[in-house]
């Protein structure tokens, strides 16, 4: 998931703040006209909107795995989970803020794989954890937010 351009917009921040149930006036400049609009701490998650290849968004002209007339529009569907991708689940999410994020910033994000480790699951299967690190930089190339996603994949017990 490389995001080449993630414009941080006041209206988008307002919608995000509403969705997380946060009435902090710092997020509502789009409504009040306040010039300085801060982004909530988890806002960079919304960069998915600016990733052309993000798999959990319906693509124009392509089949979607959610329901239409039938429970799934794509028989092989069943992709589950967030940050882990594929059939994985989102296990952990960590953010480091190098400076506050504001409306008007235009970020770009690069990412790389981090560590990978295994743990024995309680029901006998092996849990495979993998890290994914995303660096969000501003137009000047300065680091604004570093995100570390931990995904987990369950390896089913045979039989």
């Amino acid at each position: 998931m490389a995001v080449e351009r993630f414009p941080v917009e006041a209206g988008h921040i307002m919608l995000f703040a509403r969705a997380i149930g946060d009435a902090n006036p710092a997020y509502y400049g789009a409504l009040t006209g306040a010039a300085d609009v801060l982004a909530p701490p988890t806002f960079v998650q919304a960069s998915a909107q600016f990733d052309p290849d993000y798999p959990l968004r319906p693509k124009i002209g392509e089949a979607w795995f959610g329901s239409g007339r039938e429970a799934t529009g794509r028989p092989q569907g069943g992709a589950a989970g967030g940050g882990g991708g594929g059939t994985g689940l989102h296990a952990e999410q960590h953010f480091t803020y190098h400076r506050p994020l504001r409306a008007g910033d235009v970020l770009h994000a690069t990412n790389r794989s981090g560590e990978r480790w295994e743990k024995q699951g309680r029901r006998g299967g092996t849990l495979v954890f993998s890290e994914f690190i995303t660096e969000y930089r501003d137009a000047a190339g300065e680091l604004v937010v570093t995100a570390r996603t931990v995904g987990v994949q369950t390896e089913k017990v045979p039989g």
Partner: protein, 132 residues
């Protein structure tokens, strides 16, 4: 700047009941349209869950309020969490933040726990904030 001491605690009710509409709002705002979170037929008939359930990042986003209401959005230096349990429509969520330490440079360390109405932890988090 907010001054705190080790052991200081803030508790905040995040929601009296998560609604399916809020899950749709979060899908729209975040861009994570995984039908597990907004499509009851897919979640139950295809994926085999009892109903749709909240994005982990929605729970984490809501939990962020206990930090930013206390210290302000600009004070947050780190925020990280582990998704411990699923959040279902109707769940009431409460976040509790405890100051676990204050460094010499004024950075406070927080341990944060978000629980549902049964007292089960759904998100276990930590944060550091600038206080001085």
């Amino acid at each position: 700047m907010t001054q705190v001491r080790t052991g200081d605690v803030k508790e905040l009710v995040l929601t009296d009941g998560v609604t399916r509409t809020q899950l749709v709002q979060y899908a729209g705002a975040s861009g994570d349209y995984n039908p597990l979170h907004s499509d009851e037929r897919f979640a139950t008939e295809v994926a085999g869950f009892p109903s749709v359930f909240a994005h982990g990042m929605l729970t984490m986003g809501m939990t962020g309020r206990v930090i930013t209401d206390w210290f302000g959005p600009e004070a947050v230096l780190t925020f990280g969490g582990r998704f411990v349990g699923q959040v279902w429509p109707g769940d009431q969520l409460t976040a509790t933040a405890t100051v676990t330490g204050v460094r010499d440079d004024g950075v406070a360390e927080l341990a944060i726990s978000t629980t549902n109405q049964a007292g089960d932890v759904v998100l276990s988090a930590t944060a550091t904030v600038r206080t001085g």
